[in-house]
Amino acid sequence: MILIIAIGIGTLFGIALYQMLQRNVIRSAIGVILLGSAINLFLLTAGNSNGTGPAYSTVTETQVDPLPQALVLTAIVISMGGLAFILAMLYIISARYQTGNLDEIDNLKH
C-alpha cells in the first residue's frame, strides 16, 4: 500500500509540474494547486503512524499524529490565499500583455 500511495503522490506531482510548465496561464495556475495537493497528501500520510483513530482526546483507539494535520490545514489555507493572489496577478499580466500565452510575456528581458 505504501508503494501505491507513493506512486499516487509522485504521479500527481509529475502532472502538477507538467501543468505548471504549460503556456496557457490557466493551466499554469491549475498546476500550482495540484502541486500543493501532492505535498499535502505526502505530509498527511506521513502523520499516519500506527494510528487508526482521529486525533481527539475522547477517542480511545490509537490516534493518528495531529501535528502534520495541523500543518497541512495551515498549508491549505495559505495556498488558497496564494492562489487567489496569483490569479489576480495573472489576470493583470495577461490583460497588460494582451495574451494568455506565458511565452509572449517576455518583457522581463528588458
Binding site: I2, I5, L17, M20, T45, G47, S49, G53, P54
Partner: protein, 961 residues
C-alpha cells in the same frame, strides 16, 4: 568609557554638522569652532595616555553575547600614538577646511563626511577586537569613498572613488576572512588573547593562508605595489581630505594593523620576505613615479606610496632598530606630508593651478607658504636638521643591521639610497621649481593665503623642525619607545639625536644626498627620459579586470531569455537536481517494510479509490481541451483529496479541504470569466500535442517524488516528538478535545495569527491589484464605490455572465446565506470538540455569499449585501485576535494563551459551549477569513474592465540598442 567618548565625540560632530546643514555655510571662524571636537578628542587621548600604566587599557561592551561578540577597545602606546596623530592632524585639517571651503554652502556635506571618517579611523586604531576593527576598517573605506567622490559631478572624482573602494573593499573582504581564521585558531576575537597567542598562530597549519589574507587586506589599504594604483586617482578628493586621508590616516591603517599584529603573526621567514619585498618594491616604484608627475598632488601621492613601502618593509624586520625607525618614520611622514598637502592646497587655492609646468616664482607673492614648504620639503628630502633626516638615518641603520642576510643588506641599502635620492629631487621640485625663478604662466596672479589658513600647515612643519633641533624631550622619546615596543614585542629605546658620529648610515646618507642633488640638477633630462619610458602600468590590468567583469555580466544576461516558462523550468530542474544529489542515503531502499515502520499498511480499498480519483482528475485537467472543464476536473481532484483525508482519518483537514476546494473552483471560474473570450481562445489553441521537454521534467520530478515518498513513508519510525505532549495536554490546558483544533488555536496560535494575516493580505492584494487597475482606467464599477445611484432595478435579474437563472436556484441563493451563518456559528461554538473551526466557518459563509454573486450577478448582490464591508471585517477580525491575545498576556503572561472567561465568571453556559480566549480567537479567524473571501469574490465577481484598456502602450522596442 573616556576612550569610547573620544570616538563618539567625532560622530557627534558629524551629526551636529549634518543637523545644522541648512544654516551652516563654512567660514573660517566656524572651522575653528568645529575644530574643538577633534581637539577635545585629542585632549582626552593625551590625558588617557598620561594615565596609562604598564599594561594596555581595555574596555568591552557586550554586543551580541550569543555570538560572543562585543564592542571592545584596546588602548596602549601604539594605539595612543596613532589616535593622537589622527585627532591632532584632524584638528588642523578642520581649521584648514574652514578656510578652504569659505562661503561654500554645501561644505557641511564635506565636513560631515570628514568627521565620520575621523571617527571611524579613530575607532580602527582603538579597536580591541578583530570584529570591531573590521567594522571600523570598512567604515573608513566607505567614508573615504564619500570624501573622494565629494565633487561627484566630476567624472574623475567618481572614477577615483570607485577605484579606491573597489580595491580597498576587495582587500577588506580578504582581511575579514583572515581575521576570522585568526580568531578561530586562537579561540577569541579579543586582541588581548590574540597578541599572546603568537606561537599558536605561527604553528598553525593554515598560517600562510591567514598571513596572505591579512597582508592582502593591509597591502590594498596601504597602497602597496601593485595595489597602489588607487591612491593617485583618489587625489580628486578636495585637498583637505587628501591631506588627512593620505598623510596621517587611512593609508596608515594597513601599517597600523600589521604593526599591531606583528607580535601575533610576525617574526617568521614568510612574514619577513612578504613584507620586505612588497615594501621595497613599493618604496622604489613610488619614489620613481613621483618624480615625473606634473601635478603637485600626484607627486605627493606617489611620495606617500613610497613612504608606505618603507614602513611596510620595516615591520617585516625583526630588529629593535627597525621598530624605532618605524615609529619615527610614521610621525615624520605624518608631519611633513600633511603640511605639504595643505600647502599645495593653498597654492592651488590662491593661484588656481597645481601644475608644475605653470607654477614658478611664487616666493615673492607667498613668502610664508614658501617658508613652510621649504621646512616640510627638507624633511621629506631627509636633510638635516629636520626630523625627516632622523627618519632616513634610522632607516639606513636598519638596512645595515648585522641580523640581515648580506644580500638583503645590499639590496636594502641600494634601494633606500635610490629612493632617498628621488625624494630629494621631489623636495627640490616642490621648493625651487615652484617658488623661485620666474612665473612660467604670466596669467597667474598669486596672493598669500589668510594667516589662519597658514596656521594649519605651519604647525606640523614647525614640529618637524623642533623635533630635529630642540633638545630631546625625554618623555616623548620614551613614549615613542613604548609605542615601538608594543609593536615589536620587546623594549625599544628611542632617541632623537641627529648626529651619532661617523658611521655607515651617515656615509650612505651622504651618497643619497649627493646623488639626489645630481639628479635634481639634471632634472629636465631625467623627467624627459622618464616620460619616454611611459608604458604599461597596473592601471591597464585594473581596466582589464573591470572589462572582464562587464563581459561576464553581459554573457550572464544573454542566457536570460525573458520567457517565464524557461525560468520556471530552470528552477525546477535545479531543485530536482539538488534533491537528487543531497538525498544520498535515501537512495537505498528501506529494509524494514511496512511492518517495522509502524505505518498501518493494510490494503485499503477506499484509500485506493480516492487516489484513483485524485490522479484521474489530475490527468483530466491535462487532457480536457476547454479551460473551464479543466477547472472542474481540478475540483474533482480536490474532493478526492478530501476523501483521502477522511479515510486518514483527518476530519478537520478534510472539512477545510472541501470548503477550500469549492472556494478555489469558484474563484478560478470567476477569474476565467473575467478574461475576454479572445484571450482565452488564443491560450486554448496553444495546446498542440505533447511537449517532450516538459514531459521529461514532469516524469523526472514525478519519479523522484515517488521515490522520496516511498522511502520516507516506509521508514518513518514514530510520531512527532511533541505529539505526546499535545495528546496529553490538549483537553487539560485548552479545554479542547479536538487536538488538531487545539494546536491551531492554542499551541501554535501565533502561527495561526500569521496565517490569517497572510490570508487577509491575499484578499487585500487581489483587491488592490484589480481595483487599482480598474480605478486607473475608470471602469463603470467605480460608480458603485462612489455611491452614485445604481441602474434601475431590472424586472428579471440576470446571473453572472448575463445568464438567466431558474427561480428555484434564486430561492436557494436567498436561503443559503442564513443557513451558512447558522452552520458557521456552530463551527465556531463547538469547533473545539468536533471537526470544524473558525476558518471553515468563514469560508462556508463566504461560499454562500459567492453563490449569491453567481446567482444574482454583481450589482444585485451588492444591493442585497450592502451591509457587507469586507475590509472592516478583516480589521475587526485581526484586532480581536490581537486584543484577545494581549488580554491573555496581561492575565497569564503569555501571548494568546488559553483563558476560560466563562469559568472564571461562572457564567451559566450551555453544555459544550465555552466563553474562552479560544472562542474569541475562532471568531477572529472566522471574521478575517470571511472578510478576505468577501474581498476576493467582490473583486473577481465585478464585471471586468475592458481588458484592452489595461494593455501597456506598445513597449519601446530596441530600447537599449
Amino acid at each position: 568609557m573616556i576612550l569610547l567618548s573620544t570616538i563618539l565625540l567625532l560622530f557627534v560632530a558629524a551629526f551636529f554638522v549634518w543637523a545644522l546643514r541648512h544654516y551652516l555655510t563654512a567660514t573660517p571662524l566656524r572651522g575653528w569652532m568645529l575644530a574643538l571636537f577633534p581637539a577635545g578628542s585629542f585632549g582626552l587621548l593625551l590625558w588617557q595616555t598620561l594615565e596609562l600604566g604598564d599594561s594596555a587599557e581595555t574596555l568591552s561592551i557586550p554586543w551580541i553575547p550569543t555570538l560572543d561578540l562585543s564592542l571592545s577597545l584596546y588602548f596602549d602606546p601604539l594605539a595612543a600614538l596613532f589616535g593622537m596623530l589622527i585627532t591632532g592632524i584632524g584638528t588642523l585639517i578642520i581649521i584648514y577646511t574652514g578656510y578652504y571651503f569659505a562661503n561654500d554652502k554645501s561644505a557641511w556635506r564635506f565636513l560631515s563626511y570628514l568627521f565620520l571618517f575621523m571617527g571611524s579611523m579613530l575607532g580602527l586604531v582603538l579597536a580591541g577586537d578583530v570584529i570591531t576593527l573590521f567594522i571600523f576598517w570598512e567604515a573608513t573605506s566607505i567614508t573615504s569613498f564619500l570624501l573622494v567622490a565629494y565633487k561627484y559631478k566630476d567624472e574623475a572624482a567618481r572614477r577615483g572613488a570607485f577605484k579606491a573602494l573597489f580595491i580597498t573593499g576587495g582587500g577588506g573582504i580578504a582581511l575579514l576572512a583572515g581575521l576570522l581564521f585568526v580568531s578561530n585558531i586562537v579561540g577569541s576575537t579579543e586582541y588581548a588573547t590574540i597578541l599572546n597567542s603568537g606561537d599558536l598562530l605561527r604553528n598553525s597549519e593554515i598560517y600562510l593562508v591567514v598571513l596572505s589574507l591579512v597582508a592582502f587586506g593591509a597591502f590594498t589599504k596601504s597602497a602597496q605595489f601593485p595595489a597602489h594604483i588607487w591612491l593617485p586617482d583618489a587625489m580628486s578628493a578636495p585637498t583637505p581630505a587628501s591631506a588627512f586621508l593620505h598623510s596621517a590616516t587611512m593609508v596608515k591603517a594597513g601599517i597600523y594593523m600589521m604593526a599591531r599584529l606583528n607580535p601575533a603573526l610576525g617574526e617568521t621567514e614568510a612574514w619577513f620576505w612578504l613584507l620586505s619585498i612588497a615594501g621595497l618594491t613599493t618604496m622604489v616604484v613610488g619614489a620613481y613615479l613621483g618624480t615625473k608627475q606634473n601635478d603637485l598632488k600626484a607627486l605627493l601621492a606617489y611620495s606617500t606610496i613610497s613612504q608606505l613601502g618603507i614602513l611596510m618593509m620595516l615591520i617585516g624586520q625583526d630588529t629593535e632598530i627597525a621598530f624605532k625607525a618605524l615609529i619615527i618614520g610614521i610621525v615624520a611622514h605624518a608631519l611633513y606630508k600633511s603640511s605639504l598637502f595643505m600647502s599645495v592646497g593653498i597654492i592651488d587655492h590662491e593661484t588656481g593651478t597645481r601644475l608644475l609646468s605653470r607654477l614658478g616664482g611664487l616666493r615673492r607673492a607667498m613668502p610664508i607658504t614658501f617658508v613652510i614648504v621649504v621646512i616640510a620639503a627638507l624633511s621629506l628630502g631627509g636633510l638635516p636638521p629636520l626630523f625627516g633626516f632622523l627618519a632616513k638615518e634610522t632607516l639606513l641603520a636598519t638596512a645595515v643591521h648585522p641580523s640581515l642576510p648580506l644580500l638583503m643588506t645590499w639590496l636594502f641599502a641600494v634601494a633606500i639610497v635610490i629612493a632617498a635620492a628621488f625624494k630629494l629631487v621631489q623636495a627640490g621640485l616642490l621648493t625651487i621649481d615652484v617658488f623661485t625663478g620666474k612665473p612660467r604662466d604670466p596669467a597667474i596672479h598669486a596672493h598669500e593665503a589668510p594667516k589662519g589658513m597658514l596656521f594649519a600647515p605651519a604647525v606640523p612643519a614647525l614640529l618637524s623642525l623642533a623635533l630635529g633641533i630642540l633638545p630631546e624631550p625625554k618623555q616623548l622619546a620614551e613614549f615613542f619607545g613604548e609605542a615601538a615596543a608594543a609593536s615589536y614585542g620587546a623594549p625599544v629605546k628611542v632617541s632623537f639625536a641627529l648626529w651619532t658620529g661617523l658611521s655607515i648610515p651617515v656615509a650612505l646618507s651622504a651618497v643619497a644626498i649627493a646623488s639626489g642633488m645630481l639628479l635634481f640638477w639634471q632634472r629636465q633630462r631625467l623627467i624627459t627620459w622618464q616620460r619616454q619610458l611611459d608604458g604599461w602600468s597596473f592601471n591597464q590590468l585594473y581596466a582589464a579586470v573591470l572589462a572582464t567583469i562587464d563581459k561576464g555580466a553581459r554573457a550572464a544576461t544573454r542566457i536570460q531569455t525573458g520567457k517565464l516558462r524557461f525560468y520556471l523550468a530552470t528552477f525546477l530542474l535545479a531543485m530536482l537536481g539538488l534533491v537528487a544529489l543531497t538525498s544520498g542515503s535515501a537512495w537505498t531502499l528501506p529494509t524494514g517494510q511496512g511492518g517495522t515502520s509502524g505505518l498501518h499498511m493494510q490494503f485499503d480499498i477506499i484509500r485506493l479509490l480516492a487516489l484513483v480519483a485524485i490522479v484521474g482528475g489530475a490527468v483530466a485537467t491535462v487532457v480536457i481541451k476547454r479551460d473551464f472543464f479543466a477547472v472542474l476536473a481540478l475540483s474533482a481532484t480536490g474532493l478526492g483529496v478530501a476523501v483521502y483525508m477522511i479515510v486518514e482519518p483527518a476530519p478537520d483537514v478534510a472539512l477545510v479541504q472541501i470548503v477550500v476546494d469549492i472556494l478555489a473552483t469558484v474563484i478560478l471560474v470567476l477569474a476565467i470569466g473575467r478574461l475576454p473570450l479572445r484571450l482565452r481562445e488564443t491560450a486554448q489553441k496553444l495546446r498542440t500535442g505533447i511537449q517532450w521537454p516538459t514531459l521529461l521534467i514532469a516524469v523526472t520530478g514525478g519519479f523522484l517524488v515517488t521515490w522520496i515518498s516511498y522511502s520516507a513513508l516506509a521508514s518513518r519510525p514514530r510520531p512527532s516528538l511533541v505529539t505526546p505532549f499535545y495528546r496529553a495536554n490538549a483537553k487539560i490546558l485548552t479545554g479542547a478535545s479536538d487536538i488538531v483544533g487545539a494546536i491551531i488555536v492554542d499551541f501554535r496560535a501565533l502561527d495561526t495569527l500569521v496565517e490569517i494575516g497572510v490570508f487577509s493580505l491575499a484578499g487585500l492584494g487581489v483587491y488592490t491589484l484589480l481595483r487599482f487597475a480598474a480605478i486607473k482606467h475608470a471602469d463603470h464599477g467605480q460608480a458603485i464605490d462612489a455611491q452614485t445611484p445604481l441602474a434601475p432595478h431590472p424586472l428579471q435579474t440576470l446571473g453572472i455572465g448575463g445568464f438567466r437563472v431558474s427561480p428555484y436556484i434564486r430561492a436557494m441563493g436567498d436561503i443559503l446565506l442564513p443557513v451558512a451563518l447558522v452552520i458557521g456559528s456552530i463551527h465556531v461554538l463547538y469547533g473545539h470538540d468536533q471537526p470544524g473551526d473558525g476558518f471553515t466557518a468563514g469560508v462556508i459563509i463566504g461560499l454562500a455569499i459567492g453563490f449569491k454573486y453567481v446567482v444574482f450577478g454583481f450589482q444585485e448582490t451588492r444591493r442585497r449585501l450592502w451591509w457587507l464591508r469586507p475590509n472592516i471585517l478583516i480589521a475587526i477580525g485581526i484586532s480581536i485576535a490581537i486584543v484577545s491575545g494581549a488580554a491573555t498576556t496581561i492575565m497569564t503572561g503569555s501571548f494568546l494563551s488559553p483563558v476560560d472567561y466563562g469559568e472564571m465568571l461562572s457564567l451559566p453556559l450551555p453544555t459544550g459551549v465555552k466563553l474562552s480566549s479560544g472562542f474569541l480567537y475562532e471568531i477572529a479567524i472566522a471574521l478575517s477569513v470571511l472578510g478576505s473571501v468577501g474581498l476576493m469574490l467582490d473583486t473577481l465577481g465585478r464585471p471586468a474592465v475592458d481588458v484592452d484598456l489595461l494593455a501597456e502602450p506598445p513597449a519601446p522596442e530596441n530600447r537599449g540598442n
